[in-house]
Symmetry: C2
Subunit: 274 residues, 2 copies
């Protein structure tokens, strides 16, 4: 069995490209369609109702591209909307980033104390703590919202004075004392580009867990389970869609993709309900 | 002549409350209705077309509240949409923050070299440079986008290590050498709360110009010109509307308002076209 339809990847904006990159590495033969809702980003400061409404419109748009599966490459949307999205997109398989991230965190910890950093909305929703406790009921979870990391990543200020001072201010309180977490889940797709700066503050013994690679593994397993993997010899194609500001999408997206994205290769789409 | 209808004040989110505060101080008898489009903020990273569409919906909503005038307390919306908004809201008077800010900058400079800091969208649009040159054709204008200042202000990190490092990184290149600007226009409503930190970097001889006070003066003059001032003895009322996240609006809004805003006093409104 095989299925050459593309996989739809959705994010509020540009950060989800870290997940897209991991998918491309793990599944080189798959076609990928990435949609960034740049007209309404960020989701991390908005209410669950608004995030759910936006994410539903965006993923329905991806369905029009004939996708075989949807990956919610956005922690906030995964945290607050995975249930309603799975319902709305039935029978399409929908995979979020929270469960793979929680699984990776549980797999990495020795002490059982797991730190989670994310946007305000993700932390407030408590989805990571729930997902971690579902896998390991005796885990101790410490969370901190790190909103500025999103802007720092988008500004390309991933190291240097400003990033280090921000990392210290957010993380030092969490990693003080001998009962500090031994594992830190990067619960926002923007954060992996700040990994080196974060490591400087939390120390080299703390394991950083990023849901991009584990999400790619979850997608790989789901494709295999359902016989939905692509069958082609060459590399799959990657297509970029954005709801606004294709020039900025290309410029900032390159930071996360690790290679140049040209503005002319980003298609502007209107996903508002008509 | 007098007119007791409220003045509508619009911003993409919360920063415009610095303008609202100045309006309240200058026009204590006026009723004010403030609308923050928190469901779609920030505007500063979005395209002119999208900003214009959002601002038009928001200001049309304010018209339903029977306002006598609209103040665009958002630099990005003023910069890219004042023309279309004035057209769409005719014959309602519409006042933006760019011209008052430019006027204040021109009034403050001695050397003729004016610095402007703003969001990416405002800087790109070039509206400040145009407004300054219209008033003073021989002025020299240096601009810098300072996107992180928006997040710093919303995080409440208006002083300390992170804010200072960011201010240095953005502003030191602009204020190097003896031909540096002698005046700096704060071309984003979020920036006044960072004034002390900015001053530390640019030096005490540089005049900081903030469009909030000058916009309030422009509104005062326009009301007087048209005989639209309110006639009442007591203080006017201030009403807050937001398109999302009223709890966050209240919490972060307090930073800009300089006094507590209670979440239950912020009304959630839906302004999307039906």
């Amino acid at each position: 069995m095989s299925d050459n339809r593309p996989i739809g990847v959705f994010d509020s904006g540009i950060g989800g490209i870290t997940v897209l990159k991991a998918l491309r590495a793990a599944l080189p033969h798959e076609d990928l369609v990435y949609l960034g809702d740049t007209a309404r980003l960020p989701y991390g400061t908005k209410s669950p109702e608004t995030v759910t409404a936006y994410a539903t419109q965006a993923t329905k748009h991806l369905m029009e591209h004939g996708v075989k599966m949807i990956v919610i490459a956005c922690n906030t949307a995964s945290a607050v909307a995975i249930g309603p999205l799975t319902e709305a997109l039935k029978p399409l398989p929908v995979i979020g980033v929270i469960e793979p991230g929680a699984k990776a965190g549980v797999g990495a910890t020795r002490s059982g104390h797991i730190g989670v950093i994310a946007t305000e909305a993700t932390v407030k929703g408590g989805a990571y703590a729930r997902a971690i406790h579902a896998l390991k009921p005796d885990a101790f979870v410490s969370q901190a919202p790190c909103g500025l990391f999103v802007t720092l990543a988008e500004e390309g200020w991933v190291s240097g004075d400003v990033a280090e001072a921000a990392a210290k201010r957010y993380l030092a309180p969490l990693f003080r004392g001998k009962n500090a977490p031994d594992t830190l889940v990067l619960g926002c797709t923007h954060f992996p580009v700040l990994a080196r700066t974060i490591k400087k503050v939390v120390g080299k013994d703390v394991k950083l867990v990023d849901s991009a690679a584990t999400t790619a593994k979850a997608v790989q397993a789901a494709l295999a389970d359902r016989g939905l993997g692509a069958k082609r010899r060459g590399k799959g194609k990657t297509r970029f869609l954005a709801t606004d500001s294709t020039e900025r999408f290309a410029r900032v997206g390159g930071i996360f993709f690790g290679e140049i994205i040209r503005a002319k290769d980003v298609e502007l789409v209107d996903i508002r309900p008509s």
